[in-house]
């Protein structure tokens, strides 16, 4: 709704748009207290927001300017209400969200700010909820969001999603923001839960909007969407009943969401058109091998290794190198894995990553070097980002006996 109202009020009135949504929300809840929640609460909220928008437009007509593209329509009482009604129609709403998504991914904002802004404006997350998801303080996130909103409000207008050149230029940033958002939900460091499925859901909701637009449905967007489907399909198996992490080898694959996996497959087919092989294509392929394997032992690790080779050629990073080394250990044995880990470039960047130490511990354990293994797992415990990770690593220490 903020996206739609910003489209009507203009990007410079972003704060006003947020206030109207807030008021609509509070009013609706006051009434629902007494009358009960209606069958279609979001339709109700939209209607309330739309009416409040009309009030604001009429009341503030002389005091403010609104969206420059809509000035003439908003000035006349004949066209005011129909213009607003049209902006609240389903196609326009999706376009507005697309526009807002692209506007949030301004190159003048760092990546974390882009993601925080998307969560705040498009997904309605509060500062506390975002701080929680990104293991940051309330103050830091608040500052980041305030600054980003100011920057956004100062731009002359919302991003034009119909201009093909600009769109293509900014698309990678949007993809990356959604990728980071999904990753935070899948691998996150939040203190409350090792998995934040709401973040995964939101990123999937937003990429669906991207896929619906002609300019957005590129092979790389399809590959990213497929990657999200495959990983989301595996989410139900990642945690046990107490919310603790289960290692890949021990996961009950019957818990995988088969229909999501199927959906991913269909989208991946669309990604196979054209000659572009993006990092998302390769990651989706890796995720597909995992999702379709019956068990860890039966996984085609050789294919996974060659896919990681490809990924290292496209987007090298210490974490990708680590995952590649782990796959090599699966294919060739723990000693080869350890050699590969020790050969990682820029390994210092992994020093604070708990799963780096856990991987070393795991491979030392398989090589029957329990003392070394215990040392590595202990290091991992010290770097654990939440109680679930801590429990997981402590259990591995227990296995070193």
């Amino acid at each position: 709704m903020v996206a739609t109202l910003t489209r009507i009020f203009g990007i410079h009135n972003l704060a006003l748009a947020e206030d109207v949504v807030q008021e609509a929300f509070c009013r609706a809840l006051e009434i629902w207290k007494f009358r009960g929640v209606p069958e279609n609460p979001s339709a109700w909220l939209m209607a309330t927001a739309r009416n409040r928008a009309l009030d604001v437009l009429r009341r503030e007509r002389t005091a403010r300017t609104f969206a420059p593209e809509l000035t003439r329509q908003l000035e006349s009482e004949w066209t005011l209400a129909p213009t607003v009604a049209e902006e609240f129609g389903p196609t326009a709403v999706r376009d507005d969200e697309l526009r807002m998504m692209f506007s949030c991914c301004s190159p003048r904002l760092p990546e974390e700010a882009q993601v925080a802004l998307i969560l705040h404006i498009l997904c309605g997350f509060s500062v506390d909820e975002i701080a929680n998801a990104f293991v940051s303080s309330h103050a830091a996130i608040e500052k980041r969001i305030t600054r980003s909103k100011k920057l956004l409000a100062a731009s002359r207008k919302l991003f034009d999603v119909s201009g093909p050149d600009d769109f293509a230029r900014r698309l990678p940033a949007v993809q990356r923001a959604l990728y980071l958002l999904f990753n935070e939900g899948y691998h996150g460091a939040s203190p409350e839960s090792a998995i934040r499925s709401d973040l995964c859901r939101e990123s999937m909701r937003l990429i669906a909007i991207l896929l619906e637009s002609a300019l957005g449905a590129t092979p790389s967007t399809c590959a990213l969407a497929a990657l999200m489907c495959f990983n989301a399909a595996r989410l139900p198996a990642r945690l046990d009943l107490s919310g603790n992490l289960i290692s890949l080898a021990d996961q009950d694959r019957s818990q995988f969401d088969r229909s999501l996996a199927l959906q991913g497959q269909r989208i991946l087919e669309r990604a196979a058109t054209g000659s572009e092989v993006s990092e998302f294509h390769v990651e989706a392929a890796i995720a597909w091998v995992h999702t379709s394997a019956q068990s860890s032992e039966q996984t085609d690790w050789a294919t996974i290794v060659s896919l990681y080779d490809q990924l290292m050629a496209i987007r090298p990073s210490p974490v990708v190198a680590l995952n590649r080394a782990i796959a090599i250990a699966q294919r060739d044995g723990p000693q080869r894995g350890l050699d590969e880990i020790r050969a990682i470039q820029d390994a210092e960047r992994l020093a604070r990553y708990p799963f780096y130490h856990a991987a070393l511990g795991e491979l030392e354990l398989r090589s029957r070097r329990t003392d070394a293994a215990r040392r590595h797992f202990t290091a991992a415990v010290g770097l654990a980002r939440n109680p679930m990770e801590r429990t997981f690593f402590e259990q591995r220490i227990g296995a070193c006996r």
């Binding site: 807030q22 809840l29 006051e30 629902w32 207290k33 007494f34 929640v37 509060s126 909820e129």
Partner: protein, 113 residues
């Protein structure tokens, strides 16, 4: 059994949507409980903050009431209870107390035959 009016005053929930939603759910649960125990004649309505004040013999109309936030009546309910004590006791379940609000409990005048 007699009828009583609950007038809900004050109680600022603040701006957080999660908090608002929590409070709404608490109110609905409380209303439900009162209803199930047969105490609700009319669950009532929430009221807008702004209104008009019409006063005195001159029937002067002004915008208002501009009372302090804690005194503004936000809504009302019509309740059935044995007596004023029971009605007051029943009001204690209202979530408005969590946010420092108050409930004014007033008996509806009965016709004494």
């Amino acid at each position: 059994m007699s009828e009583f009016v609950f007038l809900y005053r004050g109680g600022e929930t603040g701006r957080s949507p999660e908090r608002y939603q929590q409070m709404m759910q608490k109110w609905m649960a409380w209303f439900k409980e009162l209803g199930e125990k047969g105490h609700v004649k009319d669950i009532g309505q929430p009221l807008e903050r702004d209104g008009k004040l019409v006063q005195g013999t001159a029937k002067k109309v002004t915008d208002g009431p501009f009372a302090e936030a804690k005194d503004v009546i936000g809504g009302y309910s019509l309740i059935v209870a044995k007596d004023l004590s029971e009605a007051a006791e029943l009001s204690k379940g209202c979530p408005i107390f969590e946010v420092d609000g108050q409930v004014e409990v007033r008996p509806v005048m009965k016709m004494n035959m």
